[in-house]
């Protein structure tokens, strides 16, 4: 019997009970949470999940199952079907953690991500934060996977150029996992 996979996103004003309400619907349908991340952005609680089921539910049928949670907690919910191979994460080969920060201005995320995209550098994780204070400072922290054959100095060169253009600072750190 094959498994059926879906990508689910939930967002709504933060209050206690959102995770419980969403996971209750999944539990009652016999649906597993394969992978998920949830966090508070501003005062919006957001959940993104890869879920799987032995039952081939229709997308509309699943969406309907969330009707009560959606209404009670005023949530926006979207759902789509995905293939099995989209449900597993590829191991990064050359993982770096990057911090980019500077005075807030429009285009920091675009400037950096465009430089990465142009050079085949894959963003695996990205968080940004606008700090309080005067002037406000913009901070982004990324996990990126370098393409095969790109060394650290080439990567630094790409970041140097991109950061100079938008007048921000950066630092990089190779992420190595120790198997102990």
């Amino acid at each position: 019997m094959g498994k059926y996979f879906y990508a689910l996103t939930v967002i709504g004003r933060d209050k206690p009970g959102i995770v419980a309400a969403v996971s209750e619907v999944l539990f009652n349908k016999g649906i597993s949470i394969e992978d998920s991340i949830s966090t508070l952005l501003g005062d919006q609680f957001t959940m993104t999940l890869i879920i799987s089921s032995d039952t081939n539910y229709g997308v509309l049928e699943l969406k309907k199952a969330f009707a009560k949670a959606r209404k009670d907690l005023e949530l926006s919910i979207s759902l789509r079907r995905i293939d099995k191979d989209e449900a597993t994460t590829r191991e990064p080969e050359n993982l770096y953690s990057v911090s980019v920060y500077g005075t807030d201005r429009v285009g920091i995320v675009y400037g950096i991500s465009k430089a990465f995209a142009d050079n085949g550098i894959n963003i695996l994780d990205l968080r940004t934060r606008l700090t309080k204070g005067e002037p406000p400072m913009y901070v982004m922290i990324l996990d990126v996977d370098l393409p095969k054959g790109m060394d650290e100095s080439a990567f630094r060169g790409i970041l140097d150029r991109a950061c100079k253009k938008i007048n921000v600072d950066y630092s990089i750190r190779k992420v190595e996992t120790y198997e102990l």
Partner: protein, 168 residues
């Protein structure tokens, strides 16, 4: 058979506080030998603790020199009986994985510098200071002796970026 099977979580032996070694007897020497053999067998492994081979006693084997990160500061291949951290300072964040918890890694805070005390296989007491990679390895392995997995020490990804001191 000197190379032993690795105990994998959820085996509850990994959540057990291990017994202190009171006498270095035949049994202790056998566990130490098997630990070393098992560590050598897993090429990428630079440390292993007795509970990982199913022995609930306070022995670890480490060899930070096996990894390029440990080239500068290491004390070579060591068997440490009743290891104990006497002092520590400074914090580093490492991304750790564990033979006993396959397919999972996480960011963990460790002390950058430690002073560690232990007994060798001849019952002689030793003490040394170390830092960086070797210090991390020793801390990870000593945690195993107390039933602590790296998962128990995972730090919040959110606070990495959002930590803010409150001056109010």
């Amino acid at each position: 058979m000197p190379v032993r099977d690795i105990v994998i979580y959820p085996d509850q032996r990994l959540k057990t506080v291990c017994d202190e070694i009171r006498n270095i007897d035949e049994k202790t020497l056998k566990v130490a030998k098997d630990l070393l053999e098992t560590m050598r067998y897993y090429n990428h492994t630079v440390g292993i603790a007795a509970p990982q081979i199913g022995e609930l006693v306070r022995i670890i084997a480490v060899d930070a020199s096996k990894n390029k990160k440990g080239q500068k500061i290491n004390h070579g291949e060591l068997v440490m009986i009743n290891p104990e951290i006497l002092d520590w300072s400074s914090i580093i964040k490492t991304r750790e994985g564990c033979l006993s918890v396959p397919d999972y890694t996480g960011n963990v805070n460790r002390a950058r510098k430690i002073t560690v005390k232990y007994w060798d296989l001849d019952g002689k007491e030793h003490q040394f200071d170390t830092e960086g990679f070797e210090a991390v390895v020793i801390q990870h392995e000593i945690d195993h002796l107390d039933g602590i997995l790296f998962i128990d020490r995972i730090i919040s990804k959110r606070t990495d970026l959002f930590r803010r001191k409150n001056y109010g």
